[in-house]
């Protein structure tokens, strides 16, 4: 029991890490990872939705009629997304402004619906929460990593929580010029593609 629980949790961190292994949910992955902070914020919001929607779908898995299951999942997911949206507006307003439309769009993120359909509807609540946590944290780490690569190359800094620069390329490497291409949309594709290639290289052996 404990072993399989750990397995469900850790598979989201490497074996099935969403953007790189499953290649799912790419819309927010490409759009919000201009900075580490945006990536982290988006990842945490998605994790919250994922854990609670998995829990509820799993609890209700014997009650929900199979013909209307997708509609029910969407209602559950949309409820949690709206809660996240309101809470973010109340407590992290500047981040909410930056993420903008991508917060409400978590509703149609295929990772969330995918986990509800493929995992939570067939497994116990405890397992489903572990699965949601694992996949969510994996998603958060991926977004943060992609955000870090793009921010370092594109802006030359790493800035988190309130504008203090944690790392500055210009001080470590004098003469560094920001590569603005990386913070624009095409840069997102290039960075994601390179990271996918590296992941595959490590996984190959």
């Amino acid at each position: 029991m404990a072993q399989s629980l750990a397995k469900e949790f850790t598979k989201g961190l490497w074996a099935e890490i969403p953007p790189f292994r499953l290649v799912l949910g790419l819309c927010p992955v490409l759009a919000v990872t201009k900075t580490v902070e945006n990536g982290l914020g988006m990842g945490i919001a998605t994790t919250f939705v994922l854990v609670f929607s998995n829990l509820l779908v799993s609890l209700l898995r014997n009650v929900i009629p199979s013909k209307v299951r997708i509609a029910c999942y969407i209602v559950i997911i949309a409820t949690f997304v709206t809660i996240v949206e309101l809470v973010m507006q109340a407590y992290t307003y500047p981040l909410f402004l930056k993420l903008g439309i991508f917060i409400p769009l978590i509703v149609v993120n295929c990772i969330v619906l995918g986990r509800a359909e493929a995992f939570a509807s067939k497994n116990s609540p405890v397992m489903s929460v572990a699965d949601g946590m694992g996949i969510g944290i994996g998603f958060t780490l991926s977004l943060a990593a992609l955000g870090a690569v793009r921010e370092i190359l594109g802006a030359g800094t790493i800035t988190i929580w309130g504008g203090n620069s944690v790392f500055d390329m210009a001080t470590s490497f004098p003469g560094f010029n920001p590569f603005t291409f990386m913070v624009e949309a095409p840069g997102a594709f290039v960075a994601l593609g390179l990271m996918l290639a590296i992941m595959n290289l490590i996984g190959e052996k």
Partner: protein
Amino acid sequence: MREMMSMIIVLTVLTAVSGGLLASVKSGTEDRIEQQIFKFQLAPAMNDIFGKVSNDPAKEKFEIEHEGIKYKFFPAKLEDGSKAVAFQTKGKGGYGGDVGLMVGIDLDSDQIVAARVTTHSETPGLGARAKDDPEFVSQFEEKTMDANLALKGQGGSIDAMSGATITSQAVTLAAIQAQDLYKKLKPEILKQIK
């Protein structure tokens, strides 16, 4: 038939519970969200419009109801001693919904001091320039309450932003609404300020 009933019941119960939950979260966060919007949207806009003021507009704000909508007015005492008031109107028909415009009006000369776009969901780089680049809204400065603030293409006096005509139009609609509101409500505003 039984299956049909169970589908209807499950969906109804689920949506009802969801609605109730969201209503309570909404009412629980409402006040804080309003404060946050003031802090991050209205206060910077007001700062841009009036510059330094010698009073605290947030504390002295008052509400006037007009045609069923409550408008918040923020009185300001400017550096040169003149009195002004700022309020927000919403221009319908932006590219991504309503565009909020904060307009500051001098109470003595009835001229617009300045205007700034506040809340919007316009496209970054195009419509969003209305907020990021104050050049467009600076056209409203020193306009009187009788000036025609429509776009030039519609017989007015405002140049549209190139590539963002729809946003420009939403902003001018908000400005025209502000003129209208000010003209109608001026007696009440003066009564509240004294």
